[in-house]
Symmetry: C2
Subunit: 730 residues, 2 copies
Amino acid sequence: MALNAYELTASPYKLVAFATALYDARMLKVFRTFLAVSLFVLAVAFNPSARADEGMWLFSAPPLEQLKEKYKFEPTQRWLEHLQKASVRFNSGGSGSFVSATGLCITNHHVGADALQKASSEQHNYLKDGFYAKTNTEEIKCADLELNVLISTEDVTARVSAAVKSGMTPDQASAARGNAIALIEKESKEKTGLRSDVVTLYQGGAYHLYRYKRYDDVRIVFAPEQQMAFYGGDPDNFEYPRFDLDICIFRVYENGQPGKVDDFLKWNSRGTSDGELTFVSGSPGKTDRQLTLDELAGTRDRFLPYLLRMFNRREVLELAYGARSFENARRARDDLFGDQNNRKRYNGYLAGLLDPETWLLLRAREQKLRDAVTNDPKLGSTGAAFDRIKNAQAEVAKNAPMYNYLEQERPISVGYRGPRAFSGNLFKYARLLTRVIDERAKPNGERIPEFRDSAKESLELELFSTEPVYDDYETLRLTDSLTDFASQFGANDPLVQKVLAGKSPHARAVNLVTGTKLKDVAVRKNLYTKGAAALQAAHDPMIDLARLVDTPARDARKIHDAQEEIKKQAYSEIAKARFTIEGTGSYPDATFTLRLSYGTVRGYEQDGKQVPAFTDFAGLYQRSAEHDNKPPFDLPQRWIDKKSNLNLSTKFNFVSDADIIGGNSGSPVVNKANEFVGIIFDGNIQSLVLDCIFTDKQARAVSVDSAAITEALRKVYDAGALADELEGVK
Amino acid sequence: MALNAYELTASPYKLVAFATALYDARMLKVFRTFLAVSLFVLAVAFNPSARADEGMWLFSAPPLEQLKEKYKFEPTQRWLEHLQKASVRFNSGGSGSFVSATGLCITNHHVGADALQKASSEQHNYLKDGFYAKTNTEEIKCADLELNVLISTEDVTARVSAAVKSGMTPDQASAARGNAIALIEKESKEKTGLRSDVVTLYQGGAYHLYRYKRYDDVRIVFAPEQQMAFYGGDPDNFEYPRFDLDICIFRVYENGQPGKVDDFLKWNSRGTSDGELTFVSGSPGKTDRQLTLDELAGTRDRFLPYLLRMFNRREVLELAYGARSFENARRARDDLFGDQNNRKRYNGYLAGLLDPETWLLLRAREQKLRDAVTNDPKLGSTGAAFDRIKNAQAEVAKNAPMYNYLEQERPISVGYRGPRAFSGNLFKYARLLTRVIDERAKPNGERIPEFRDSAKESLELELFSTEPVYDDYETLRLTDSLTDFASQFGANDPLVQKVLAGKSPHARAVNLVTGTKLKDVAVRKNLYTKGAAALQAAHDPMIDLARLVDTPARDARKIHDAQEEIKKQAYSEIAKARFTIEGTGSYPDATFTLRLSYGTVRGYEQDGKQVPAFTDFAGLYQRSAEHDNKPPFDLPQRWIDKKSNLNLSTKFNFVSDADIIGGNSGSPVVNKANEFVGIIFDGNIQSLVLDCIFTDKQARAVSVDSAAITEALRKVYDAGALADELEGVK
């Protein structure tokens, strides 16, 4: 379900015909065909006349030419602005959109899951059982959810780039750029009152200032049962056909009142139709399409195996804990869900990177650029940039264990949940407190980015979260991560010994979890307000641990950042060469900022059979029957009881060839009239390699049709008032 | 369930008072107490007057003195011989015993699981649903199960040691010893007709020749539902109190007729009682109690983390595969079960090794020996042996990736299932065929041990197994292991590229699995008979792969074996020093050969509460009710229906302080009258560190009481005839 689909490199050719096969003998035929036609594929791939619906485009540089040429469609500036301002970024890691004038905001259930988990208790398992607030007063305020709406953007490349003078060391360059960015953000925020982030595009080829309206009073309105949102579970995840009602509806509030929203999407309860042109507006998280081959080889041989070991470990831990009791299972539910999803997603990406056919395409793509660089006397020096990236990446890899275990906190989009040695919320709070107090003593421009003034409100939302903290689950995760840490560096490592303080991992975790006062929001607020002296005087074991590892953690970050700076400069040089060679009419790799994709609703061929674009409710009941209604193919009781109410031919899920990836989860799908006709929630298995390369042969984005949503709300969930609000019925 | 409990180092002192805590806050109190009393603990630990029921004793050197001193019990030679010959080793990795004159042999369900899995099909899931043959003709012959009964032993240390001359290189020494061993085994087998194995004891301090009667026509008579055998699933595994009917009953056949057994254990349906002295006779797999601290540090920092990554990876793979359909779940059932069990077991052992208190005890133990060595002028040179082991172990570690991925096949007892790069049965057959044909061309003494003449019948049983082979499951596992292999060495590694042959791991796996003919037993028999030319002419892709990796695999083995030889010589020297200092009245580390343990049936204190020695059927129904009869705490329907038949106060499981470990699973528990009163099936969580050190404070062996078995057979399973045979009722 964590939505997946993908974009292409910033090059004018496009790659068609692609197949990834995972653990599944039925894919054999595809592979054979594929090998046989690989030369043909390459020929097609480099034929610039066959335009696919490719690209995660900046709203400031939309694919007007492509839309006009292929679809004879010319969106107006107002059309674009309306869609932009109706689009909502969920900072917990997803996308969404406004769908009513009074602040209703729809996203995926799996994007809302974090908020549902945090709002639940032993008495109310909203994540599992669902929720519906019939009136505004019943809506539940989220613990720490922040939504962002993009208001305006500005190209600040010149100003940012000017800060870096030739001859600076990587450290100096990084500091100078950081300072310039901090100043731009601060000025913008002070001038506009809007959250202001400078976004790095093209791996350093451009810098844009993004201004967002923030919402941090967000309330839960509706969620189905997780079993209905994630019907088919892990086996059906990243597969198609699908039957998932993967939605969750929130409402934004301002000053304690439902938000008044001008730009919201008009709801179209007829949904979309086969062959229709649709648009997707959302925040894709991260793609690797402009990485060099050397860096991608590192992703394949080092980074993805590392991530997968981490997800395997967590999945086993959470399953074993959850099997002990219903309450344990509830506590670990969202974590388990996320880890299983990431495990399947990255297994798929790794399978793609281990396919020599993929590699052939990637190599051809890079070679074409390198040849063009070599042949252009003005760009000749750019060739060396590839080697600088390779060398820097080798240093990053060497430093990775220290960096990952002690420092790495982000991005959430690849499944990180804090430095790997110290799992759990309590260490997170201790880390944030020690860091914010140290950092705010420095000039704004010299701080670590997440502690700049421009990020203050978001930081406070996170630090003062009302998310419940469970001692046993904290202890479990901390025991496991301390064990992992000791295994990584050896129990005799001096830092491991300092961290464990003469105790076993379990005894140390118990000591930390039972000893800290940071569970209490008031304690965190008090320490945050009072500052350094209070922090020291607290003698809180978790804070003392965060302090103990702060220097080695910052040292690891410094090494990491210096190498990333070298890479940034080299990628910036390559990006400029690419602009020179290919023009600027392309789009940058995904950066969890707003992008526009487009595509046709259409099925695909697999194993010689046509997979239709749409499923319907009848198909859901059929799949359940085929599996004796046993998990993960069981239906919630409500869906069994209300079957006769439903129009079984209602469109349920559909696929299109729009170019999306993780982070696009919850993105609205709109038609040419800018009406809401569906919501993205997944990519199929064939799309999992598309982190690094685009194809539309079989790769598809998977959505819930709007028709299914209103039908289910009215006929299954007795949520007619909510359906009325969506449909604009007075 | 994979039984766990443990023995002590061959030193005269013993270690009391111990606590391992896993993921569980309730253990906090134990830890605190433990820290407070650690000095006291050390004092007790080194007090040789407090004799615990410790040791996995050789039947040729039983603990007569200890039994007489503490229990006033003096078993006769005939008593010992009877128990020895009634004890049965399951070569799939467990223990058992004869319990009728007509060949009934009882073991644990989890030991029989391998045979039950192999006998099952989509139509009959005997592993999950259980099985009962009311008549001999209904009994199901196992695919490849071999049972061994120890008939006699002989000390051949002098003859083996004489083969190694001073001045030999490790390779020469290893070859000379191998040759001597092969000759001894061959002579013995030719003379007696019995399976003859030379067993290395005390890590090389002694060599004994063991002669076994082999049974390879073994038939399944009875198994309960796995849910009853493993009631409580992973959460209750290695925990106590327990409610598991972990039994499985086979019958041995000779010449197509039920075997006639003279030495079988008389069944006592009253079971055992609190405080009673009991004996355990079985084949504990492996302990680490005589390893040096340096080697144990490697176990902690390298080997166990490696194993756990492997088990995590497999568990996730098998769960994901099994979730797709009932049939998938059935196919992966026994593998999943084994991997989950090993994961929990080795997590527990790692937790123990990461506890500084454990380390303190281990260090004191080694220091005592080292001091004694230093103080004895005749032993002074032995000090250097510790360093030789350290250096050799470092070389083993360096070579480990190649060795583990290409060669490592055994021991099954730590969860290996073939070389890690090539999972599945089909590669196993290809490897066995290429190896046996290469090896049998050599003189017997120069062969790899498993291909010596003395192992011929066992090899053929394995190679010609009728175990079903599922293409999809083979492809899944092979895809995953090839992916793992590529991640370990990098996709550009020359050997990885040769192995993948220009394909993705999945495509290569499909190509191998669909291309090979080795699924067919007749094909394997034919190739085995015809030999090298036929093998080459077969052009079978799996055989070609086995051939392709044979040289690097053998090279890795050679490096491994040379270092192990250095270690063996050093450990032999240390063992001799220990004999000099402490006498020869102790027992060697476990070697999956027959041992005698003894202990008192008794509960223990945990968190200030007494855990009673026994559970009963009433407790089973109570635990189920507490968890709403939901998995893994659900009862089979039969147990719900037959509840009123049962005497609910029947003793079900019990604990004793006997010294056991993995491999003891299924060992009979007998009373002083040599009657069968129970069957070992597990160790509790506090016993999981005891691989390396003994304690009887909380560590307990867990058994099914014989009373529960006959009660269940008669009242739940309508298996009166079987119960009659056990009880010797005419």
